[in-house]
């Protein structure tokens, strides 16, 4: 058994990951657009001492078809903007990390950067972002400024290259104010030291951004950047640009291959010395009784079959703990669990799985850090623009 503690997060979306979740007795489908519903969920996740929650989002309306819009009326439709939701929830919590999902193709990197920096201020250092691309033509039509190449592989290369450029801009903007740029120097009348504000001068095929940011460097310096990755292009994005990759291995052997691909990209980007987490996504249906969990999944699937990109696990918290240990030995550093049904499976995570992992010495028994980077074992990074001259004035 590994003695390295595990990291745990949950993915929150609508009534839960399973498309039939909203019909469960405990579901609250008529409250999906209220702050109270989300506040309760994030409070429950924080009660379980989880590292973070991610809040799912997309440009367009949900669809059961990953490649096109649909017109189904028997599944949850409608979503709040995940960044607004994250900001609304942040002041109500004190420890847990909060990562809204943000589409970084089509959108303005400048706005993404200041939005996430603002959530970092509002949460006193607990913000991150799950970046994603929008690859459907109907998504592009919502903003209406581009057409896509017909070849899907070419499209994905284009979009993930753009996502990497967007993350580069977002990160440079976070560093574009040195930590002590605000001097409030009454003697000279200067509020800021302009020597400690930096143009980022990014130029790429899709956008160029001059900087500096409008927002001072956020509390974590660099909020946490994550991405969900299923194939080579996003593996490369995780390796070159992210702090966490969420991946979807079928088993431990698959996990080893994925981890190796990401480590290779990480090394290729000269980031060997940095911590890049690779977490497996698992959709979970949990019960104290294993048969009851499997029956519940069968019942959900009978209502509306779940076609999930992640492995679906139905069982007891102890069985899940065994699986996490096994996958952990394949090089994964944590897990993002997707509760099949909210709030039921979230409560099984926080009140069943977490105590089980704690008994095995594999999970924290109290929050030990105050920032998300702290939970993840990431140091607060130096500012890339700080020179010996300006940084020296810290000490």
């Amino acid at each position: 058994m590994s003695d390295t503690p595990l990291h745990l997060g949950v993915s929150l979306d609508g009534a839960g990951r399973h498309p039939a979740a909203w019909r469960e007795p405990g579901a609250r489908p008529d409250e999906l657009f209220t702050a109270g519903y989300w506040a309760d969920l994030v409070a429950e996740a924080e009660h379980g001492l989880l590292d973070l929650v991610t809040i799912d989002d997309s440009l367009g309306l949900q669809s059961a078809d990953p490649f096109a819009a649909d017109d189904r009326v028997d599944q949850v439709r409608g979503r709040l903007d995940a960044s607004m939701l994250a900001a609304r929830i942040a002041p109500l919590t004190a420890h847990i990390g909060i990562l809204p999902t943000v589409v970084v193709t089509h959108t303005e990197p400048f706005h993404v950067s200041t939005t996430i920096a603002t959530i970092d201020y509002v949460s006193s250092g607990r913000a991150g972002v799950q970046v994603r691309v929008a690859a459907r033509p109907d998504d592009a039509a919502l903003l209406g400024r581009r057409t896509f190449p017909a070849d899907r592989d070419a499209l994905l290369r284009e979009l993930f290259d753009e996502a990497a450029d967007a993350v580069e801009v977002i990160r440079r903007l976070w560093d574009s104010w040195e930590d002590d740029a605000i001097v409030r120097d009454g003697a000279t009348g200067r509020f800021v030291d302009r020597e400690r504000l930096h143009y980022i001068d990014f130029e790429g095929p899709r956008f160029s951004v001059r900087g500096p940011s409008i927002t001072p460097r956020p509390p974590q310096g660099q909020p946490v950047v994550a991405a969900l990755a299923h194939r080579a292009e996003p593996f490369a994005l995780v390796g070159t640009s992210c702090d966490i990759g969420f991946v979807t291995p079928r088993d431990a052997a698959d996990a080893r291959g994925i981890v190796a691909a990401i480590r290779e990209a990480q090394a290729g980007a000269g980031r060997e010395a940095e911590t890049v987490h690779v977490w497996a996504d698992l959709t979970v249906v949990l019960d104290d009784d294993a048969a009851a969990a499997r029956d519940r999944l069968a019942r959900l699937d009978a209502t509306d079959p779940c076609t999930d990109d992640a492995r679906v696990v139905a069982g007891t918290p102890a069985e899940l703990a065994d699986l996490l240990v096994e996958l952990g030995e394949a090089g994964l550093t944590g897990f993002r669990l997707r509760p099949a049904v909210l709030p039921d499976d979230l409560r099984h995570i926080t009140r069943g799985l977490v105590p089980e992992l704690q008994r095995r010495g594999l999970f924290r028994t109290a929050y030990e850090a105050t920032t998300l980077r702290g939970h993840l074992g990431l140091p607060r990074p130096a500012d890339r623009y700080a020179t010996a001259d300006t940084a020296g004035s810290h000490s």
């Binding site: 489908p29 440009l59 367009g60 409608g78 709040l80 960044s83 900001a87 200041t114 509002v122």
Partner: protein, 454 residues
């Protein structure tokens, strides 16, 4: 108790010289605690809303980042979503540019804030087109000056089309029957106009207010017409009673053409104040604040913004320069960049002439003159005196209320809330408590009518 009711809003102190950052009580302009403090103060005083300006590029002058004023702010929609968590009734007004955003994203943000605040979202629609700001965005600074109201109008109309794409009765969420949506076309929209060619389904169901409250600032004829057609409130800068009355009359008379009654567009001038126990004390305090707001360096920078020349060699305690302002066309780079006020003085030569006469008549130095033309408080007096002045503006149709601009972050509204508001409430000119839950309720706006029903 039959006094005309006023509306009050709080402007979070901005990144210009109105905000005094050097006082011991001057706090952070970026920490959430500052926003929470001012919002809670405004809500305690039963204000209609809190208002945030927008920043998209740090200002520059003489080729360098402007460093004399407060610099740095959050994304204002995001910070207001967080303020919703620490307030229950206060309206939340975010300034969002129609130039460097897309309607779909802005509509999602505003509708989401409206859901997450229980119906308190407002949007101050602004336009910008300068290349300087555009350097931070994909779009760049492509918009010709003549197109900015066209884009703003089409942007606003498109956002309204999007938020109206859900009527509000589509979600059934019936667990027993398995029907989540009543209507497979919920959220469907199709917009094809000069500026936007977009279609699909909007992803946020109808929010409590249906539409965000729309604010607009802009004094030009086009701006007034735009407001009369589309806005629920106007943010103005008219200082005197007479100027306010002229503006008020002009804008209100434009409403009929759009089938709107006069009470459906609130006129709210930006208002500064200096309070004292006596009139003399208030005036002394006002003078002291103005000296803090306009240092010698700040005075020179102001002068440069109108002269469009580097005047850093001048003595701020000396006379105005002999040389005339440098006049350039609207699209040319100026000595000062990223500042809306750069374009306020449309005729710099006339402004220079007027200022020279004024300086000569009063024997004023550059700093004296700049202090006088840029920072005189709207209201100076005792709490009772200020209450009476404000009531006079409202009774005599110079405004429907005020957007108060404190000069200190975050406590600059505390005195006003504690000392002036109770007098207004006692005299019956301002609400003693909220009577509704949404910002539309606070502003007395009619329920959304047929124009918003698809």
């Amino acid at each position: 108790m039959s006094r005309r009711q006023m509306h009050l809003a709080a402007h979070f102190p901005g990144v210009n010289n109105t905000t005094v950052w050097s006082e011991p009580e001057s706090g952070s302009q970026i920490e959430f605690a500052s926003f929470a403090h001012m919002a809670r103060t405004a809500e305690r005083a039963k204000f209609d809303f809190i208002f945030l300006a927008e920043g998209l590029r740090l200002r520059e002058q003489n080729g360098a980042i402007y460093d004399l004023d407060v610099v740095g702010r959050p994304d204002n929609a995001t910070i207001l979503a967080a303020v919703a968590a620490v307030t229950d009734r206060l309206g939340l007004a975010a300034t969002i540019s129609s130039t460097f955003n897309e309607p779909y994203e802005v509509a999602r943000r505003l509708a989401s804030i409206d859901h997450l605040s229980g119906g308190r979202a407002a949007w101050n629609v602004v336009t910008s087109w300068d290349k300087f700001t555009g350097e931070n965005f994909r779009r760049g600074g492509y918009l010709a000056q003549g197109d900015r109201y066209l884009r703003a109008k089409q942007f606003l109309d498109t956002v309204m089309t999007l938020v109206d794409s859900w009527r509000g009765d589509e979600i059934v969420a019936d667990k027993a029957t398995g029907e989540f949506l009543r209507d497979a076309g919920a959220g469907r929209f199709d917009v094809a106009v000069d500026q936007f060619d977009i279609r699909g389904r909007f992803s946020v169901p109808r929010s409590p207010q249906g539409r965000p409250v729309v604010l607009q600032a802009g004094d030009s004829d086009e701006g007034r017409e735009f407001a009369a057609a589309s806005a629920d409130a106007i943010f103005t800068r008219h200082g005197s009673l007479e100027a306010g009355q002229a503006f008020y009359t002009d804008v209100k008379r434009r409403l009929a053409a759009y089938g709107r009654s006069e009470d459906q567009l609130k006129i709210l001038p930006a208002t500064t104040f200096a309070l004292g126990d006596t009139q003399a004390e208030a005036e002394e305090r006002g003078r002291r604040i103005r000296r803090q707001q306009v240092s010698g360096q700040t005075a020179l920078r102001f002068l440069e913004q109108v002269w469009n020349r580097d005047l850093s060699h001048l003595d701020p305690d000396g006379p105005l320069p002999e040389i005339d302002p440098l006049v350039v066309d609207a699209d040319s780079p100026r000595v000062s960049q990223g500042r809306a006020a750069d374009r306020m003085y449309r005729d710099p030569l006339a402004t220079a002439k007027e200022w020279r006469e004024r300086a000569a008549a009063g024997n004023l130095s550059i700093r004296d003159l700049m202090t006088e033309v840029t920072s005189r408080q709207s209201f100076v007096g005792t709490p009772l005196g200020i209450a009476e002045q404000m009531e006079r503006f409202v009774e005599q149709r110079a405004s429907d209320g005020f957007i108060l601009v404190p000069h200190i972050t975050p406590g600059g509204l505390d005195d006003f809330a504690d000392r002036v508001v109770p007098i207004l409430q006692e005299r019956g000119s301002f609400r003693a408590d909220y009577t509704g839950t949404t910002l539309r309720d606070h502003l007395g706006l009619a329920p959304l009518d047929a124009r918003s029903v698809v």
